[in-house]
Symmetry: D3
């Protein structure tokens, strides 16, 4: 089975980190390929970045080389998920919803620990529209930006643990890594906090494998029908 | 006061129609300018189109010539609204939310009549995230595509009236034109249905004028803080 | 355009303050008239006052001299709004809902800062039934009564700022003046708090102008149908 | 124990009907007194009537002769409930909420069958603010006005049964008589529909007795604190 | 009238305490009988205990000697309520919902003070499915286990008062005793906190009496239809 | 990896069917063992059956022979899930929630097609408490009992397709098999309806494998803490 994992930003080092996380989670027969959009923001932190990222990732997906069995979208709280479902015949799993789906199985309420406070509203909206916002007790920022995350692992861990405690005080019984750039952090912070911590990248890979192996893919009835054939331009006319 | 009204698709005829609607709604001192994205879909009907449109409209807005006092985003149910709020220092009003805000003042429950059924979910999500979904009794499709709307006015009116009756049977006391391409239809269908019908373009222009004249603009506290300075590429590298 | 603005209590000084706020917000062609109920409570602070005020304001409205184009009801959280919609053929805008509608355009979550804590539940119910409660993060009392508000402007400002900070800590990105008697305070507290502050009186005047200029008025389909002709007595029989 | 039951309109025949229903429901030691407002609407059918009724009933309650142990407010969907709670030291039970409380104990979802369709929104709001709207599957009108109800008992029963079937098709497992003027109808329509039917008047009397016998009354903490001492005028100055 | 009150655990001393509470609440003509399951947990504190208790209580109820007019289930937050409604032709009232129903009549928001924190989620779910969760401001644990409750009355009272203050800080205007083993505590803690406190056992007895005297019982339409005749084994085969 | 799959009723033929479904869904390294409670109902159709089943399944789980890596509870809409999470150190997945989690990934709204109408309320409650009820458009009964399901495959398929169409008319874009006894039906009805159909047994097996392979298990913080040590009796004293 081949699963394409798309970074939502243009930073290749983050794609590599995501791919490492995806591979460590994947089942034996799964081939993970990593993909970096060739335009968009270098990191996604807010609505403007998210919408730019959505278009760039969809542009990447419509030009994907070779067949894949499923797509994992590795932008936590970023937009685009439903567009990819229209575009592709294979299942699409976004790491935001994936982490929440698994977290719901592990505790009655979950919390998300993410990067900057400015992204918390976007994440809440993303959980809500995916149908898994109800049991989210809190979305809490660490104050670290996306590109700060891997510079200093101790600082990242401490910031996560402090924010995780705030989410737990608000009722969370399980935590979710609220950024693809946190992938790999889950075991350390889980041990420090004494509670399960779900990484969305690993969760999404496993959910994508599950859908493929069960022969399930996106419904074409209703909202995720195939895009209508029409004229679409993917970049400014002066640009090319 | 200068209000920039952005079409969400690349069809200039629709921009012209929107500008006509905006000008007929605007107060005496308001200058309306119409803007067509130079890339994106020729019409927005579904999630893929909506995300592509969001990036193209944001690209347009970041390159807007000259100062404006407010921006109206004329894509019903399309994405991008929150990104524009981050990007700009002036108020941003989306026609989806604008129509719903005014509709709430005219009846206890409102309904939206839109183009294709496939877009109803997107519109519901857009109303919800704007905070005005609670009193929406129904979003109903006419079965007409965006570019079909102005070809045959009788057909459009009949389709709207039929769908409007379904929305009213579901509890709507006020209706909303669920597409920027329906602008101008409001009086005819209101007379036919015996109930107020709100056009989002006119509603958004009036709300934008209201915010400007009251000296109000987007909060920078929280989710709509200014975008962080960072590297963003707005088109594929080969393209330009 | 003539807009009648009704105070919800019998204190003429507050009517004057409301009229000043309404006039400073109104467009050039708008004539604002202020109206004080000739019975009811001297200030509305709680459910008993609110219901008494609702009847007195409706009594005032059914006896309004001369034609008006719209009515603004200037009681924050007070009852009566839907009754006025049944009674009148012109649009009716309540300052509670008006402030919330504009606040939703300026931030993802808003907060209300009001007078006494005892009124917060009423305000929450009023926002909910108007369809704009979802994005309200908090309703916070200042501890000041309605008639205390204009006695000492520094005290009022400080109390508002302190309560506003509590609302912002609860997630509000925009604030709303939660009493008609706070009209005029918006610029000062907005500067102190660094966030937009919406005055309901100004918001309602602008929304009323918008509805009138768009040719929109209350739906007669459903809940706001004209009152049935029947015998109604507006005061005790011994009284007159 | 003495329970004062207040009609919400000025029609004495309806007060008599309500008192008959209240007495047939009351426990052996309970003395029911019926009260008719001396001003207000002759029947309450819509928001204007409801707000007028609320003030008239509160005026009645503040002038009640002699001590009572509890008050039952017999207006289905009418306003005023929370004001009476502020005003009085004894428990106050409204028939709308009372019927819903008991209905929740008898089935997973309940429905309300009421008079004119125009009142259904008001009833939904009343259930919501009382905290018992969640399990309401439908509020359905019979098309009969309040004063039509007892003119022709067969017509009333048939209309109720037809509307009850619509509520049951929408998921109701229990029904509620949605007007004080339907009191006495419960057994007949229950037999015809094969499902329990709750009369709000009887339910409210029993709930009021329960609160009194348990030594419980309205909380003074928060929203239902005693009204502040202030100047209130209960009728127009010319009137008396 | 005979009301059977079932303890949810196997501790006879708690049954006795519950029966005392029930008798002190019951009307003059009511005969209360107390029932202890002959299997199940000695106290119910968590989901495992609750499901075990549900089956044991249903086993008790299907074997009840002699006719009863109503059943009160005295396990706060425990499962089984809906099964008893299917099983029996008489009304069934659970103390969790009963306390909430009465609390809604006494204040705009109520709080529950219970035993261990681990049970708070279960109680929230129980209130929600009963249709009375909306106005619950908080469920707060005292940290005392069920069997600790009556060992040291001062300790219990202090723990309740401290937890009650937390619930009131979260918006509760009325409190509910969140364990059948707290029955009898209501007057003391109400005096200490200055707010009404509802005991679920007394509330349920009064609600059961109300239903019986009004001739109301569980609907057989929909979810609470009589159990289908089929083979059911109530204990392991080796066990008997 | 060893996954124990528990039937919720005592019918061995249904356990066999469930095991077949589980094995056809399981990954290569997974050993599925099937377990039938030795007491309880022969089929679970309603609340009484569900609570009896919950206790019997928990009794089975506390006596499970040998270590397992995860447990799948194969009763659609049946109770017990949270009790098993307290009891066991390994992940527990219920087929109700599992099907809903995967369905959310395949369409914007899903529907459940189940056995008898009487069970629909229970299923709605189960989805809600699991946190995945929001996007459920409808739960529809086929009118077939659990034990009728496999007698006549054509009849079952036709009944499912008819009910599935009703769910789709209510907005479902994906369907869920609403009974463990429907396992195996998914491909046929999916083809007939042109929309994905999720079997809860397969979904739960895949989710359980995912949790195990990611090193995740139930949180012990909060509601799913280990059961307290105490005296519990699992059957009537006379019985054994």
């Amino acid at each position: 089975m081949r699963i394409a994992v798309t970074n939502c930003n243009t930073t290749p080092a983050m794609t590599e980190q995501i791919v490492r996380g995806a591979r460590s989670a994947a089942g034996p027969g799964t081939l993970i390929t990593g993909h970096t959009p060739d335009w968009g923001p270098e990191s996604a932190e807010g609505w403007l970045d998210s919408y730019l990222s959505a278009a760039a990732v969809l542009d990447l997906l419509r030009r994907l080389d070779g067949p894949v069995d499923a797509v994992v979208m590795a932008g936590f709280g970023e937009h685009g998920r439903e567009g990819a479902r229209e575009l592709l015949d294979v299942p699409v799993v976004d790491i935001t919803e994936a982490a929440a789906h698994l977290a719901c199985l592990l505790g009655r309420r979950f919390g998300v620990v993410t990067t900057l406070d400015r992204t918390t509203g976007q994440i809440q909206d993303s959980l809500h529209t995916a149908g898994v916002g109800q049991n989210c007790a809190a979305v809490v920022g660490t104050g670290l930006s996306v590109l700060d995350l891997d510079e200093d692992s101790d600082r990242t861990t401490s910031a996560f643990v402090a924010a995780g405690r705030r989410a737990m005080a608000a009722g969370a019984e399980v935590l979710v890594l609220g950024c693809a750039g946190m992938t790999g952090l889950e075991r350390g912070v889980s041990a420090a906090l004494g509670t399960p911590v779900v990484d969305g990248v690993g969760a999404a890979v496993r959910l994508a494998e599950s859908l493929v192996s069960l022969g399930l893919t996106t419904s074409r009835v209703g909202g995720y029908a195939k895009p209508l054939p029409k004229h679409r331009t993917w970049h400014p006319p002066g640009a090319g």
